[in-house]
């Protein structure tokens, strides 16, 4: 395949979901089966093409980047700015090729899963249309070769996420969650936009390649390293919003109000990984300081969300916080310099977390049908306390879930182990080279917590006895369209696809394909270069391996004792630490802080504005209105009495004289003659006097 073919393929991959979206929105309802086959078919086609690009790119063009761009809008020479044009473009490097496959594969399987899961939904065709626009936007980000394109895609995924979270907008909580996701994301996007503007103001181009080239030649924004760091951190703000990092992580757990396949596609596997992808894409421009900020943000996120996850009872909430925590891992990986590990974790996480969400979807589907069958509308089908013992009824879902859990908990032979181990080794190396030991210590603790809460989820859902034996009889395995994606994701969560050595992900093809790009920032503010860092990281390989196995084992063991053997009672522990339990159950009170601080503050501010508007502005407007009214009244009076009065007076006078004169017009000739005679006599006397 030549470069041209690859570009053509990527254009087809990019545009076909958009065409699908347009068709679905306008004629979807009239198509047979409401057109689900159309979108699903398009996505499978896109997946096949992506796979073709992937294999070609990695085998034939391993070390080159394939680029294509065109001027989308040319504004010519603009005052102040100079020449201004908007260029859209596609750049395909190894990272893009891998992301293409991940996005199209997860999207295609989620489409397949949705056919059964969303069966009979009131807005069935619109749901698939939105999935189409989401896939298009996500591919737009993945294929972007400049900041402009990536920003456009960025906002488009935000929009489609909003549309899909609020799919069941009749529920108030779903509408609120969608608004929250949208608004919180905008906060991060402001930062990203400012960062892009700093770069654009200085370089007058949006292209990644051109900006990095100029930076490499020593040309940095405003000639100052502080500006460079600021630009890096601001662009990272976009990732903080989209990838749900602390302090903007609050939207993601609420976003679980959307349909579960949407959670799997957007809020677990692809869109939330866009932030990680953005950091990976702009990696060369981050200074050591910016990277440290990134690493700490990731660490805080991973820690907070993992601790929250252990106290949640809603199956999707646990998975949501686990997603936030894992995204924190990826961000830490990038921040400490283990670039490959962070993006590797993105890929493996996409597979097993999409699987976990679809698996939970399968469980919820079964619970929902059972409760629905019994006309029970009070039992929450997502609450794990209502589950238990599902293992025997849903064997396929159960075994798939076991594999995903093993992968996320960091059990050897599964994909998650490879990538997580690399990140942990990276943090140890970072601790060694910079002295920031807090990061590795926290992350090892979080790795243990991950194993703990994932096994807790497994035990509460699939083991033990079901709380309601009557309902239990009605629980059935989900249909094939749902279990096949589960099985595919389960097989993709094995180590073999990523590395032939089950204990070292660094030797796999993916680690070789996605290598950390050379930094372009001035050497004085540059992080430890790749080779030096990699050597230290390699040195820590076995330490990290041993430690991570130990903490994962420990977490699982405690979970086993607590939730399977029941030798440790979770209730007793919670009762002994009531404050901590409440604190974790309330998600560190972060939502309350935002509600009471920011939201209430904004509300007060709007009250002040409303008062100002209602009293001052309206007062002025009403005052002007009344003044005009008074003046108009006066005018009216003047018109009515003076002007009309004059006119009427004239008419009245004329009328009066008319009435008088009318008397003389008798119609009798003799009277007239008498007048004439009288007149002549008068005239006679007048002339006589002269």
């Amino acid at each position: 395949m030549s470069h041209e073919t690859i570009i053509t393929f990527s254009q087809i991959i990019l545009l076909s979901p958009l065409i699908g979206f347009v068709l679905m929105v306008f004629v979807g309802k009239k198509l047979p089966r409401q057109g689900d086959w159309l979108e699903t078919g398009i996505l499978f086609l896109a997946f096949v093409l992506s796979a073709a690009i992937f294999f070609t790119k990695l085998s034939l063009y391993h070390d080159e980047t394939i680029r294509w761009s065109f001027t989308w809008a040319n504004f010519g020479t603009v005052p102040v700015i100079g020449e201004l044009k908007m260029v859209l473009g596609i750049a395909i490097d190894n990272l893009t090729a891998v992301m293409l496959v991940v996005v199209t594969l997860v999207s295609a399987l989620v489409h397949l899963f949705s056919i059964e899961y969303m069966h009979g939904d009131i807005r069935y065709h619109r749901y698939f249309a939105y999935l189409g626009i989401f896939t298009f936007s996500m591919l737009f980000i993945v294929l972007a070769d400049n900041f402009f394109s990536i920003y456009v895609g960025w906002e488009l995924v935000g929009l489609s996420s909003y549309l899909l979270i609020s799919h069941w907008y009749e529920k108030k909580s779903a509408g609120d969650a969608a608004k929250k996701a949208f608004v919180v994301n905008r906060v991060g996007d402001i930062g990203m936009f400012s960062g892009i503007m700093i770069l654009w103001y200085h370089f007058h181009t949006m292209s990644f390649a051109e900006i990095f080239e100029m930076m490499k030649a020593g040309n940095i924004p405003m000639g100052s390293e502080a500006w460079l760091t600021a630009a890096g951190i601001l662009i990272f703000c976009g990732a903080v919003g989209k990838s749900a990092q602390f302090p903007l992580h609050v939207w993601l757990p609420d976003a679980m109000e959307g349909p579960t396949p949407v959670s799997a596609l957007i809020h677990a596997a692809t869109m939330v990984a866009a932030g990680v992808y953005l950091v990976g894409r702009t990696y060369p421009m981050y200074t050591a300081d910016a990277l440290m900020v990134i690493a700490y943000i990731g660490t805080i996120t991973a820690f907070i969300s993992a601790t929250i996850a252990i106290a949640q009872n809603d199956i999707k909430k646990v998975l949501a916080y686990s997603t936030v925590s894992q995204l924190g891992f990826m961000i830490v990986g990038l921040g400490v310099g283990a670039y490959t590990a962070g993006l590797f974790h993105l890929v493996t996480h996409a597979m097993f977390k999409a699987g976990l969400f679809l698996g939970s979807g399968s469980v919820i589907h079964a619970m929902h049908h059972a409760t629905h069958h019994l006309n029970d509308h009070h039992t929450d089908p997502q609450d794990m306390r209502n589950m238990g013992g599902m293992k025997s009824k849903m064997p396929l879902t159960f075994w798939a879930f076991v594999i995903y859990t093993a992968a996320i908990a960091g059990v050897p032979l599964f994909s998650g182990f490879l990538s997580k181990d690399m990140i942990l080794a990276g943090t140890l190396a970072y601790g060694e080279t910079t002295g920031q030991w807090l990061i590795p210590i926290t992350l090892f603790f979080v790795a243990g917590l991950t194993a703990f809460y994932m096994l807790r989820l497994m035990f509460m859902t699939f083991f033990g006895t079901h709380t309601d034996s009557h309902r239990f009889e009605h629980i059935h395995e989900s249909p094939k369209a749902m279990t096949i994606p589960l099985m595919i994701f389960a097989t993709l969560s094995l180590f073999i696809y990523f590395s032939f050595n089950p204990l070292d992900g660094g030797e796999g093809w993916l680690a070789k394909a996605i290598e950390r790009p050379e930094s372009v920032v001035p050497t004085s503010v540059m992080a430890l270069p790749y080779h030096a860092f990699h050597e230290v990281m390699h040195h820590f390989h076995w330490t990290a391996l041993g430690l991570s196995l130990f903490v994962a084992g420990l977490g699982m063991f405690i979970s086993y004792l607590t939730y399977y053997k029941k030798s440790i009672s979770a209730d007793v522990v919670a009762a002994k630490l009531p404050r901590l339990h409440k604190f974790l159950l309330n998600k560190w009170n972060i939502d309350d802080i935002y509600d009471n601080g920011i939201v209430e503050g904004m509300k007060m501010f709007t009250h002040v504005l409303r008062w100002f508007d209602g009293t001052i502005i309206d007062g002025i407007v009403n005052g002007v209105g009344s003044l005009t009214k008074v003046f108009a009244n006066f005018n009216g009076k003047f018109d009515k009495y003076v002007v009309d009065g004059l006119v009427n007076l004239l008419a009245y006078t004329v009328g009066f004289f008319g009435l008088l004169l009318r008397k003389t017009q008798t119609g009798r000739v003799q009277t007239y003659i008498a007048f004439v005679v009288f007149g002549v006599v008068v005239i006679f006397f007048i002339f006589k006097g002269m």
Partner: protein, 104 residues
Amino acid sequence: MLTSVSLTHYLIVSGILFSLGIFGVVTRRNAILVLMGIELILNSANINFIAFSRYRGMNLDGQAVAIFVIILAAAEAAVALAIVLNIYQRFNTVNVDDISKMKE
């Protein structure tokens, strides 16, 4: 007492005649009598013509005009009587007070 008949006497007669004519025209209700009043007025004018012609040393112009007036009066009487006949046919009366259509 009447040593000679002067112009003044003629004018007095003419004035009396004119006044009677006007009186007739104004007060009579019958259209025929109104016409008769008009004849009197015309004749008072004739007397004036002739009197002035005689006493102001003029030739017979006054008499000639008086003859024209008599002819015209005859013609006028003919026309006026025809009108009165028409009025009678239309309104079934010759009372001028009842014929006040001009007012409308």
